[in-house]
Amino acid sequence: MTHTLHRQGMPENLQNDYVVFAMSAKDHNEVGSAANMQAFLRIVGRHNPINMGDMKTGNCFHAGTEDIEANVQDTSIVHAVFADIDSVAVVVKEIQEAELGLSVVVSGLLDPVREMCRELGLTPAPHTVEHSLGVWGKVELLPAEEILEISTMCGHGMVSFGLVQEAVADVRAGKSTPEEAAKKLAEPCVCGVFNPARAAVLLKRMADK
C-alpha cells in the first residue's frame, strides 16, 4: 500500500506538500495502539494540518476531527497533511518526545526530510526510504501532467481525472473559488492525505491559462 507515494509535481509545489502518518505493526505492537494513535492525532491537530483522517473513518471534511479520533482502532492508519517542512519538524519532535512507539512515516521531498531527521537526531536519516520509479506501461492513457499533479494526491485513485477537469472549468467560469473547488476534490480521498491548499494553487494556475 503506497497511498502517499507517486505524488507528481515539480519541486516548487511539492515543497508545500508533506504527509505525516502513523500506524502500528500487525503481530508486533498492534494491541492497544489505538490510544497512541489518538495521541498522535491530538499532536498533529495542534499544528493546523491542512487535512487529516483515518482510513477507518474518513477525512476531516467528511467525518470531522472529533469523530476521527473517537473511532480510531488498533488497525487504523492516521494521517495529517502539512504545507511546509518546518511544521513537520515541530510535529515530529513532539511525536518523538511523546514516545508513542508507533511507526511514523513522512512523505514528501526527500532531501528536506533527511535534513529534518538529522536535526532531530534520528539516525540513520531516515530509517527506511521508498522512492517512486515513475509510471510505466501505456502512458498515453494518462491525462496532462497538471491533472495528474492534483489527482495523484489521493493514492487510492478516488479523485477522478474528470472531477479535476470539472473543478478547473468551475474556477474558470467563476462558479467556484480555487479553494472551494479544492475542498470538493479533497472529499473523496477518505484517508485525508489529499492536500487542498496545494490543489487550490494548481487549480488557479490551470484556470488562469
Binding site: M1, T2, H6, P126, H131, H156, F161
Partner: protein, 242 residues
Amino acid sequence: MRIDPNSCVGCGQCISYCPMEAIHLTDAGVSEVDQEECVECGVCLRNASCPTDAIIETENPWPRSVRASFSNPLMEHKETRIPGRGTEEMKTNDVTGRFRYGQVGMAMEVGRPGTGTRFRDVQILTMMLAELGIHLEVQNPVTSLIVDEDKGLLNPDVLNEKVLSAIVEFTIPIEKVPGVIERLREVEGQLNTVFSVDLICKVRQNDFVATVPLMERLGVSLSANGKNNLGLGRPYFEEALP
C-alpha cells in the same frame, strides 16, 4: 454499483466523480453504470450527493467481489487485515524488519494512476517474476489469487475483473534488481494499462541509500519525493549496521 432508473432525475452530477468514467447519461435521460467498467470503488455513492439516493450498492458474488476489495479503500482485505491494496511494507519496517540491509522491496501497482486494470494485465507481471524465480510477498492480496506459483498464474476466474489498481510486491537481494528492471522494460509494452513502480531500501550508516547509485547506473530516474520511515516504532527491530 447501480443507479435506479426510476429514481434518477438525470442531473448528471455523479458522472464526473467516477474514476473509471463508467457512468453516462442514457437516451432516456438518466444516469447508468457500465457494469463492465465499474470497479465498485464506492466513490459515487459516498461523494456525489445524489439528490434522490438513486445510487445503489449491489451484492457482488465471486469473482466480481474482488473489484470492491481492490478498489474501495474502506474495505479491509481478509488476507492482510489492512484497508487498501497492499501491505504494511516499509511503513512499519522499523518494527518488523521486513526489509533488511542488502535487500530491496519492489512493487508495481498496476492501474495506477487512475487508469484501472484487468487482472490479465497484472498476470503479465506475475508471470514475468515467476520466470525470474521471484516469490511474491505472501501477505499481499494479489498473491492470494495465484494458483500456479511456478508460472505466476492467477485464478482464471478473475482475469477479466477490473479493479482500480493491484499491487505486485516482493523482496529481493539488491543484486537482482537490474534483472527485474531489464525484464520490466521488455514487458511494459504488453500491458494495456499503466503501472507505478517503487523501490524500498533500508538506510545505512552515513545515511547511504544503496538503491540511489544503483538506479543511476541503470539509467532509471528516482523521484525527488518519497516515503520516509523515521524509525520511531517500538520495539525497534535490531540489526547491525553493515
